[in-house]
Amino acid sequence: MELLYLIEEFFKIVMDPMVVLVIFGATALGTIIGALPGLTATMGIALLTGLTYKVPVNYTFAILMGIYVGGIYGGSISAILLNIPGTASAAATAIEGNLFAKRGKAALAIKVTRSASIIGTLVGVLALALIAPQLSRIALQFSAVEYFLLAVFGVLMCGSIVTSDLTIKGWIGGLLGLCVAFIGYDVISGAPRFDFGNINLSGGISLIPAMIGFYAIPEVIKALARDGADAPAMDMEGSVTESPEALASKSVAGGKDPGSFAIALKNIPVIIRSALIGVGIGALPGVGEDVAAWIAYDNARKTSKRKDEWGTGECYEAIIAPEVANNAAIGGATIPLLTLAVPGSPPAAVLLGAFMIHNIRPGPMIMVDSPRFIFYIAALILVAVVALWVVGILLARPMSSILKIPSVFLMPIIAVLSIVGAYALNLKRFDIFVVVLFGAIGYILDKMKYSAAPIVLGIILGTMIDENFRRALIVNKGDPSFFVTNSWISLVFVVIIAYVIIKQMVPRQLGSRVNLKNLRGFLAARRPGGTPPRP
């Protein structure tokens, strides 16, 4: 029945060519906003919400949903091309995606993430249209204990973000991020923390300026620090031998690569898991596309059968998982937005404001007051998926040729965009300072071979861990046993977390045993008459 409503609303929208045109335009604009470093999906929606105040309602939501879907996808483009995630949700995609670009496979990677985004969004829409009430009921079962455990689970993946020398650098980065998250006014006790009496610090460090600082500024400094056009556009720790122009032309001429949907089909298990993670995490109030992408990335890595491919720039799973999940989280985040009036993610929070302006009051009564509204929004996202497909194909080539622009021209533009983007989100001058300071720190950490990813992850999850841990203890009168006994959800989390920790420790021991065996074999081979080591 729900599916019929969805199809009916879909055709109602498609019947109005003007609305379709608007969605296509908005999706294209969203993709570009998402792809520009510094300009995020959240900002795109916020900007357009102001501009569409006087626009008729049916166009307004067409525009906003188009921007949302396009923006979340667009973030992956700059993550792949420049190693600068356009939105926070694309940070996980940058890890492997940029390695594709360095191997001259940027166009292919963009195609694959596009297919992944389309599939992810589709699953999210279906969840929104078919099981929104059920999912929001489960989401309400999440209490402080479950939120805390979910955040701990997310942070655990710091250990599996590869750095070329030491695994523990992932953990150090994660801890640094957690520390940054503790700055500012504390919600639980109502006290300022680590603000040194500075009013700006008492508001905390905003994620977006910090992220822009950590990702964009070091790339700009690195590019400008290099001398001459014949140097490669991106640092690859000495292993790049081709010029950016050569790389770019290779990227654009990606015609002989296998089809992106064919690649996606080969990774069906990863797609299914990531889509479920995306919808589930998205449906939790206050947890967004970014966390969904990280958890899907981590899950794909842990369950991968081709672990040796990770970090080589050949691993499709590593870019498919986060992109499926962050786009599936769009439908997911729309569920609590519509059924509980509590946004599931930052862009959804801006959408809530837009609904309110147009006198649509989401909440538990929405199915009674405007029963078709959920299907209408789902159908809009569905049309935006089609738009994403077309727009993605049209934009892929011009976007990948960004690499052709010499870095002396490209990087100053990126620097300006980043700073303007960081400022425009909250109109806070302090945020510009944050970009510059974190940019400098990011550059130093990059020189010391620390990845920005775990730091950003720590900032995203720090507040969630901190607040919910203390809230859970307050609610349960200081009894920590509640973390296991609270509900079946918390029990499942505890078991998974314990498993992950044990698993992260065990392979290291196994590895050392294997090395020992190799050594014995090697020594045996060296002995005259000894048996050579078996391969």
């Binding site: 102001g50 109502g190 009013i199 008492s202 404001g353 400022y423």
Partner: protein
């Protein structure tokens, strides 16, 4: 060398571009001659946000410029957004959306401006209700105020809300030792929305104090039961199907009557030293906006009372709320600075 020059040129262009973006316009002509920004110090979807967007939307029509609303959240009681407005030129081009909550900024943060330093435009507000989650209410038999008052194990009940501000003060009046002395456990959230949700979920909290507008749909859906009006008078909560008579909290805790009424009110403010002609123009636009039939319908949807106050009337109302709120928080030991040192009179 050539490349070096190019590189330097690009950096110069970059710096120029940034400074162009941040350059502040000048020239004094009839107000308003350019677009206005309204900073909302709280998140999207909350009472302050929704009202500010509505009022600004209507005022923009009369002022014939566009008013951009931006949420600048963080700090204590919206201090980051409010201080941003204070630090902008006092020329009427940057307005601060507000509720009664930012009145507690001078006693919780190093910011010294009090209601004396601002001029207020108070649009409306919704009554405060103490609500109980319907599942807990049925399980423990506490679905009315009398039953809750008689309930023995109040220490096992948890009440959700945001630390600081109006709802916190009201919840504290009920639970703190020197006031109502109901030993409820306070669980803090980042805003009314998450606090209400935690109560609806019923795992983290059993009770919540929030505005009628905010809990309306949950009451209609039967997930929350309003059991007390946080005021000396009773209140009738009207939904489409039925109307619920909500008794005054003072019926069971008469001792807090002297602190009441503590009302929610929403609107915007500008620094007092904004030029008089600018304030006059804002006042006329505000009056036009409040007379808009659309505004009346909006207020009734939000279960709100329209106050439509500006000038001296609004300032007096703000000062009264400020004095009440700040001194209650001070008595509870929840302030960093005493209201006396900020020159806030005792109620």
């Amino acid at each position: 060398m050539n490349r070096m020059m190019k590189c330097t040129m690009m950096l110069v262009i970059a710096v120029l571009a940034v400074s162009a973006v941040f350059a502040e316009g000048q020239a004094e002509v009839a107000y308003p001659e350019r677009d206005i920004t309204c900073i909302i110090p709280f998140g999207q979807g909350g009472g302050t946000d929704v009202w500010a967007r509505k009022v600004m939307g209507s005022m923009a029509k009369d002022l014939k410029v566009s008013i951009t609303t931006t949420n600048v959240t963080g700090g204590s009681a919206g201090s980051i957004g409010i201080s941003q407005v204070w630090n902008s030129p006092h020329d009427g081009y940057v307005l601060a959306a507000t509720s009664e909550t930012p009145l507690t900024i001078p006693v919780t943060t190093p910011i010294t401006q009090t209601s004396k330093d601002w001029d207020y435009f108070i649009a409306g507000g919704s009554p405060g209700l103490l609500c109980v989650n319907s599942v807990t209410a049925a399980k423990l038999g506490i679905d009315t105020l009398d039953k809750l008052a008689a309930y023995g194990n109040k220490a096992s009940l948890k009440i959700a809300g945001t630390t600081g501000g109006l709802w916190f003060a009201l919840a504290s009046l009920v639970s703190e030792k020197n006031y109502g002395n109901w030993p409820l456990t306070w669980v803090s959230y980042a805003g009314s929305g998450p606090a209400i949700l935690a109560t609806v979920g019923g795992i983290d909290a059993d009770l919540v104090v929030a505005s009628a507008g905010e809990v309306k749909d949950y009451v209609r859906a039967g997930q929350l039961i309003p059991i007390a009006h946080m005021s000396p008078d009773g209140y009738t909560f009207k939904t489409d199907a039925k109307s619920i008579d909500v008794p005054a909290i003072t019926k069971v805790i008469p001792g807090i009557a002297k602190y009441l009424p503590l009302q929610q009110w929403l609107g915007f403010k500008v620094p007092s030293d904004t030029p008089a002609d600018v304030k006059a123009r804002l006042t006329s636009a505000f009056k036009v906006a409040m007379a808009d039939p659309d505004m009346v319908k909006f207020a009734s949807d939000q279960i709100a009372v329209i106050y439509n106050k500006s000038g001296v009337e609004a300032k007096t109302m703000a000062q009264k709320s400020e004095s009440n709120l700040c001194w209650i928080l001070f008595d509870l030991g929840k302030t960093t600075y005493s209201p006396a040192e900020r020159g806030i009179a005792k109620p």
